[in-house]
Amino acid sequence: MLRKGCLLAGAFFVLGCGGKSGPAGGDDSGVVLTYWPAPNAQEVQLADSLVRVWNRLHPGIQVRMQPIPVSQSTEEVLLAAIAGKTTPDVCSNIWPGSLHDFTQAGGLIALDRFPDFDSVAAGRTPSPLLETFRSADGHFYQIPWKTNPVMMFYNVELLESAGVREVPRTYGEFLAAGAKVSRDTSGDGQTDIWMGERDIRPIWWQRWFDFYSFYIAASGGRTLFDKGEVAFDTPAGVQVMGFFQECYRRGYFPRTFYQGGDPFLLGKKATHFAGPWQIAAMQKFAPTMRFGVAPLPVPDGYEGPVYTYGDYKNIAVFSTTRHPAEAWAFVRFLVTAQHDLLLLELCNQMPVRGDLLSNPLFGEYFQRNPKMAQFARQVPTTRGMDVVPDLKEIFDGIAQAYERSAVYGAIPPEQAVADAARRARAIIEWNK
C-alpha cells in the first residue's frame, strides 16, 4: 500500500516537474521554442513529423508547434503578433513580399550573424538566387525554404489535334499556335476551345501568374524594382503587356469570367500558367489528361535561360526569441537535405536547392515524379518579390493597367506600363 502510494507520488512529482517544458518533459532549464508552420494540412503534417524527430534528438531544446489560424492571412497574423510581441521563435510561412513590413517593425533578427549561415545558405541555394533574398541593409532576415515556380502546363491532346507539333517557346510561336487552337468546336458560333485563359478581374495577386512571371522571363531574371526604384517600364515590360493584349485581341483568351470549374481541368484551354501544386490537382480531377510542363514563352529573339516567378515561402526567426542560437539550430535542421526530401514527398513542394537533380538523395523521387523534375530544373532561375513597401497596392496598379490594356485593349501597352510605373513611383514616394 505504502509502496503504491510512493510510486504514485513519485509519478505525480515527475509529471508535475514537466510543467511548461512540453510533452517530452525535460528539466526546468530546458529551452522551449515555438514554431509556426503554414496552416495547410500537408505542411502541418510535415511540421509535426519534423518536430517530433527534433524533440527526440534534442531533449534540452524542445520545439512546440502551433498552427496559424486559417481564417486570416499569415501576413496579418504575423504583423499583429509583431506589434503585440507575441511572435513565435520560428516561422516557416514567411512570404518574402511582407519582409519589408516585418523588418520595418523590427520583428526579425538577421540570420547572417550566425557564423555558419553562409555555408548553410550558400551550400543549399545557388548564389545569384540567394542574393535576391538579401535585404537593402545587406543582411539576410530570411532563409529561402520552398518555392513554386510558375511554368506553363499544356494539354497535349488539344495541341496535337489542332496541328501544333511543338510546344511554343516564344510569343510568336504561342500566338501562331493560338490561331490554330482557339476555335469553335460545337458549331454555335462561339469559341469553346481556348489557347489559354486568365482571370480578367484586376485582382492583384493574379498578376503573379501572367504579367509578373512573364516579365521576369522576358527581362532575363529582373524583378520590378532595382535597388528600391521602379524599374519595370522597360521594353521587356511593354513586350509582356503587348503579348497579353494580342492574346485577348485575337480572341485566343476569353474575355469573360469563366464559370463552371477550372477550364484546364475540363480540357477547355490548352495552356495554364501555374506551379507544382497543379500536378496534384491534375491527378485528382483529370487523371487521364495527357499534359506536359514547359518553361514560359519568351519574346521572339530572346536568348538565354528562361526565368520565372517562384512563389517562395521562407523561414525567419523573430526578434522576440530568447534563444536565437537554438532557434537557428532548428532552422538549420529544417533545411537539411533529408528534410528537403520530406518536403518533396509529403507536400510535393520544391525546396530552394540547387542540387535537386544532381544529388542522388532526390534521384528516386524525381524518377517517380518526372513532371516535378521539370520544376526542379527551373528552381535556380526563379526570382521573387522585391523588398519594398506596399507591394499589394503596387500590384493592384499593375492589375488595373493590365485590365485596361491587355484585357480590354483600351490603351496601348506602352501607356499601360507607364501608368503602372507612375502609380508605383507615387506609392514608393509616399512611403519614404
Binding site: 504583423l79 509583431i82 517593425a105 484586376p202 499589394k392 485596361r404 483600351a410
Partner: protein, 290 residues
C-alpha cells in the same frame, strides 16, 4: 459660478448622455481624423508623421479623380431621372384616381427593402448572359446590353438601379408638396385661360422648388455615399468605372491598410460634398418664386 437652478440641473442631467455620446462619436472622430490625415498608419505598427504627404499623394492620385468622375456620371443620370420619374408619378397620384393608397404603397416598397437584397435582385436582372433584361431583349431579337460589363454603361446601370430603389420617397415628397399648393392659384390660372403646360411651368414647378432642392441634395449625398452596389455588383470595375468614393476609401483602409490616407480621402470627399450641396442650394434657390 452661480448656483444652478434645479431645473437647470435636470436639464443638464437629461442632456448629459448625449453630450458624452457627442464627445465620443462626433467630436473625437472629427479631431482624430484631422490628426490622422498627417500620418501614415496601418493600425498595427506605430503612427508615422508624414506631414502633407497624404495630400500630395491625393492630388496626383488618378483613382481619386476617377472616383469623382464616376460619381458625377452617377449623379448625372440619377438626379434628372429621379426628379422626372418622381414628379410624373406624383402628378398621376395627385389627380382624381382610385387606389391611391395602394399605388403609393407599391411605389414606396423598394425604399424600405435592404439595399443588399435590391442589389442581388438587380444582379440577376443585369446579368449579361442569361439575365432577365437581356433575355427579354433577345426574345425580341434585340442585342444584349452589357449592363455591368462595359465600362461606359456600368455606372449608368447602377444609377438606374438606385433610382428605382429610391424614387418612392420622392414621389411621396412631391405628393405632399403638390397637395400644399393652394387651390386658389390653380383657379386663378384657369380664369386667366392658362394652358396646362403654362400652369405647370409657372405655378406647379416653382411651388415645388423646395421639394426639388431636397431631392437634389439628398440624391447628391446618396450618390457620394454609394458603396454596397458597386461593392457587390462590380467590385469597382470594369476598368474602375464604378469605383465610388466610399468604395475607394474602404479599399484603402481595409484592403491596403492605409488608415491615414483613407482618413485624408474621407476628409476631402466630405469637403467636396459640403461644397456641392451648398452650391446646389444656391443655384436652385436663386430661381424666384412668385
Amino acid at each position: 459660478m452661480r448656483k444652478l437652478r434645479s431645473s437647470e440641473k435636470t436639464a443638464y442631467g437629461l442632456i448629459l448622455p448625449y453630450v458624452l455620446f457627442f464627445l465620443a462619436f462626433a467630436a473625437y472622430p472629427l479631431v482624430f481624423s484631422l490628426v490622422l490625415m498627417f500620418h501614415r498608419w496601418n493600425i498595427v505598427t506605430p503612427m508615422e508623421w508624414i506631414g502633407l504627404k497624404n495630400f500630395s499623394r491625393l492630388a496626383g492620385d488618378p483613382l481619386f479623380f476617377k472616383s469623382l468622375g464616376n460619381t458625377l456620371v452617377f449623379l448625372g443620370f440619377h438626379i434628372p431621372l429621379q426628379v422626372t420619374v418622381a414628379l410624373a408619378f406624383a402628378l398621376l397620384l395627385n389627380s382624381r384616381i382610385r387606389g391611391r393608397g395602394f399605388f403609393r404603397a407599391v411605389y414606396f416598397f423598394p425604399v424600405v427593402v435592404s439595399g443588399v437584397a435590391v442589389t442581388i435582385l438587380w444582379q440577376q436582372l443585369y446579368a449579361f448572359d442569361n439575365g432577365v433584361l437581356n433575355s427579354i431583349l433577345t426574345s425580341f431579337g434585340m442585342p444584349r446590353v452589357p449592363w455591368l460589363v462595359d465600362s461606359s454603361v456600368a455606372m449608368a446601370s447602377i444609377a438606374l438601379m438606385a433610382t428605382w430603389k429610391n424614387v418612392g420617397i420622392y414621389i411621396v415628397l412631391f405628393l405632399a408638396g403638390l397637395q400644399n399648393i393652394s387651390r386658389e392659384l390653380y383657379e386663378a390660372a384657369e380664369l386667366d385661360g392658362a394652358s396646362p403646360w403654362q400652369v405647370f411651368f409657372s405655378i406647379t414647378l416653382p411651388m415645388l422648388n423646395p421639394t426639388i432642392i431636397v431631392i437634389v441634395v439628398l440624391s447628391t449625398i446618396g450618390g457620394f455615399s454609394l458603396f454596397i452596389e458597386p461593392y457587390v455588383l462590380t467590385g469597382g470595375g470594369p476598368m474602375q468605372s464604378t469605383l465610388s468614393g466610399m468604395l475607394y476609401i474602404y479599399n484603402q483602409a481595409f484592403y491596403f491598410n492605409h488608415m491615414g490616407y483613407a482618413a485624408t480621402l474621407g476628409f476631402v470627399y466630405a469637403m467636396i460634398i459640403l461644397a456641392v450641396v451648398l452650391l446646389q442650394r444656391k443655384l436652385i434657390e436663386s430661381e424666384p418664386v412668385q
